[in-house]
């Protein structure tokens, strides 16, 4: 940690901060949510692949994922439950040890062949349907 140089704000930065603060004050309380698209959840049902990584969405809001690169077969897949509300896709990975791991994505594209989702950090994942 000693290698981290102390951050010294230059005057320009200070000016920018001041302008941002003003803008923030002006915009305070005026935040609005952008409208969400809706997708047909039935289109999710099926098997999707990205390189060696597979997702399978089943009826009943259950699914499974596996990665052949790690020598994991479909029969050994790890399960999750899923829900799709408008464009918000929530996968809850169910650990065998009893805990749940929720992962939330925003669906960008969903059709018969492509599933494109973004996570909350802006990372995009593209899957192709396995026929």
């Amino acid at each position: 940690m000693n290698d981290v140089k102390p951050y010294v704000l230059s005057k320009l930065v200070r000016l920018r901060l001041l302008m941002m603060a003003v803008a923030g004050l002006l915009l305070y309380g005026c935040g609005t949510e952008s409208p969400h698209r809706s997708f047909d959840e039935d289109l999710l049902i099926g098997k999707w692949v990205s390189e060696s990584e597979y997702y399978r969405f089943d009826f009943g809001y259950q699914g499974a994922t596996w990665d052949l690169a790690d020598d994991v077969q479909e029969s050994e897949a790890q399960v999750f439950s899923w829900s799709l509300a408008e464009d918000r896709l929530l996968l809850v990975h169910q650990m065998e040890m009893g805990a749940d791991i929720p992962k939330m994505y925003t669906v960008i594209l969903l059709d018969n062949s492509i599933l494109q989702i973004d996570d909350v950090y802006g990372n995009r994942y593209v899957y192709q349907r396995v026929l």
Partner: protein, 1008 residues
Amino acid sequence: MKKCWKYILCCLGSVVGLVVIVFCVLCWILFTPDRLTSIVNNLSERYLKCESSFEKVDLSLFSTFPYAGLKVSNVALVNPVDGACSDTLAFVSELLVGVDVKSFVSSGDVVVKELVLKRSDVCLHTDSNGVSNFMVFVADSVDDDSSAFAMPGLVDVEKLKVDDLSLSFSNASAGVNASVEGLSVALKGRLADSLVNAKLRLEGDSLYVNVSDLSNGVGSTVSLADFSFDAESSGSFAHLSGVLDVRLPYAFVNYGGVDYTTAAMLAADEDICRIELPFVLDMDDMNVNIGKSNVSLLAYEVVMSGNVTLPRDTVPLFVDLAFQTNKWDVGALVAMLPDQLTSAFDGMDLDAFLQVSGNVVGNLDTVSLPEVDANVMLSNGRFYAPSLLPYKVSPVNADLGFRIDSLGRADIAVNQVAAKVGGSNLQVKGSVDDLLGSMFAKVNLSGNVDLPMLRYWIPDTVPLQMDGDAKLSLDVNASLNDVVQGRFSEMAVDGIVNVSGLDVLFDTLHARSQWLSLSMHMPSVMNQNHVEALFSAHIKSDYLQCFSVDSSLNAYLVSPDVEFAVNDILDSTKQLSLCCDLGVVKTEAFVDSLTVSSGPCSIVASVAFDSLRDNPLSRLSPKATVSMKGVRAYVPQIKESVRMSNLVLHYDSALCEIEKADLTLGNSDYHFRGNVVNLESWLSHEDLLKGDLYFTSNFANVDQMIDIVSGLGSNKDSLAVMLAEDNVDEVDCPFIVPEDVDFTLHTHINTTYAFGNKISDVNGDIRICDGVAVLDEVGFVCDAARMQLTAVYKSPRPNHLFLGADFHLLDIDINSLIHLVPYIDTLVPMLSAFEGKGNFHLAAETYLDHAYRPKQSTMRGAAAISGHDLVVMDNDVVKNIAQLLRLQDWRDKDGKLRIDSLDVEATLFRNEIELYPFRLDLHKYGMVLSGRHAVDNRCNYHVELVKSPLPIRLAVDVKGDLSKPEVLLGEVRYAELYKPDKCNAVQQQTLVIKQMIKQSLEDNVKLP
């Protein structure tokens, strides 16, 4: 006076002489040969039915003096019968009869005093119809056979002589042919009224008897030559004494075509048979007293004496005889026997000296036999038959007593039989009762046995060699029928075998002992209720060494003591059952590089074989109690020696109870007790192998245990296939959890070192159930916190192993937490900046490859950390963030940064760790942190000021490599996060997710 008597006697003599002269003249004139011959021929027609001829009958006065003699020449009786050797029944060339004239004159009785026959030929024959040629006498009109026999009063014989008699006898219906040639009989003495004082001599040139059994065509022939018979007797007929002397220089006996005497004849220097028999006959008591008599056949003599009482009315024949033989050369005797009788001895070297003595006493009739007591002495015996036994049996000495009772039951008293067989000396003593019936033996077998000899009786397919000497004493009570029919329950065997210098080689395995004692008992003396034991044995030794030829095994047993019992293994209606009690004072064994030593060891076990069961253990149904002390093992794979101070184990088909098992490994101690069930049904694949064990330890080094068990695995039928399918070498095979076992280990460890941490008071269950190993809610206390750990390990296949953990730390010191679980600093990077206590919940799981490397795509984890009144430690990152966010006056008066509360939820998914938004309250400031980073240390964190004396909201983003992050101002996101009435749907869902994570983790906490 003398002259007077002289004149008188002369006168009387003159008168008598005159009378005699007158008598002779008258006889000469009156009884001429012609006249006498005519008289006799006329008389013969009255008494004989056959043709007869008396050629010349003449008086004889001088040859029969003082008796009147009648001399008959060429007497012939002719009675032709078909099949007879001659038409002439009898021909006597000269017959001389001396008659007492005085008796004839005084009483008219014809008293025969002398009878002489010279050169006679007699031909007797009975044809197949029973018609005999010698039935020529005219029968009396009255034949009263009921009258008792009485010595005829007219018999007063002083001389009886037969010279050169040839006699032929044949009986076609009986198949008998006999002949005597040159027979001479001479009787000298007196035979009159009831007095006998005579010597009888009988001689013959030859005697021939042939008997043919017409039913089966087997004939027997006896031929004697130059035989003689001498008898001398005196006294009255009621008390007659004499000596019978028979000599037989030549004999030929043939039965069924087998010649019995030729070899004996060749061996004979003199008489082949000799009988000397003095006797006293008491006709009043019908008793014959036999003096010391000698019957000899060549050199084989029998000396006997005693009494024989002839049967009278209802009194049977009574015998009281004592006999004794000289030393018989059995080898020579066997050599004289015909080949047909000795064929069984071909190839044998057989010899001995045999001497028999005894007596025969008792009645002899149709219902009883005389009792026989005999003593048989066998000395210098020799037996060698390589085809039967490759060892010479010599010398053999025996002292046997035979007894046959009146009912024919024979018993043998084996006073002693001693024999040297090869290098072994054996002695037998005892008795054999009912020799011809059940043959019950009660004997003691003792001696020294040269163990290499036993190899002869071991099949060649058994690679067993042995050396040493055995001294045995064996008492056997058994009957032949029981032995033949295998009725061992009816027998009794007790014995002791002491073996010295034992050296047994079985294949490549040696066993040696300087001294070994074996005692055996049948019926069993071992008391085992659940085994119907028939035979028991007790083996003791001072020292037993077992080692392999290639030196891969070397074991020493000090003072082994084994007692075992077995049921009747030859009873086909029963299954094998066996019990044993093994005790060893000290054991040392070296197997390859493994060394095991043991102190006192005791195993009490039994097995009951049941061939109908389907697995080896069920077939044996073992029951055992094992007790061992002071066991120490050196295993190359384990740096420390393994010591077992105590082991007490009970096993039966239903339950295996570990009463006590105390192990020490290095400075760790392990104590086990509990039960294992279903072992037999588990082997039959009918049920899980279940175990419920209690494991306690004062100190256990878990790190050491993991090092030891790493790479160890249970075998499985399909493991090889699975390894091949997963391309995993056998040496790299990971720990495979058995799929069909259910073991629970109730654990209590006072102190343990695990992952470099000292942990105390560990309580919980470790369970292996059907392919899953579970560390089930183990609670323990370390310096930092109360802890609960649940861990799961599964091995569905070698390259796909599951490892999961559910870990809860309550009241944990955060620094200790990071020390205990260093990975937590990676999961929550800024956690090291906090000081204080909190609660930590972690659930993590992943699949591993065969080398225990995590498969990144399967990594899952969730963690929740909560704390109160935490102190933030100063560091450059904190200072930079504070400076960037313009945090003024955020320290307490003591200069420390304090956080009222901390509530962090984080997840691990594949290679990404995500920190869900959480709020920090530092004095007058409140901020929310969130973000994620990957396992490669790339991070993307967001720190946002949500409470501040300033009227503005500021946020910074921390990005880049965690070791050298870039801190930049960022967009505010969480202003309304903790304001339920104002937060948006995403923020609401974020809070729900946080709660979901925390709740799912806390639900697993069992600690109070």
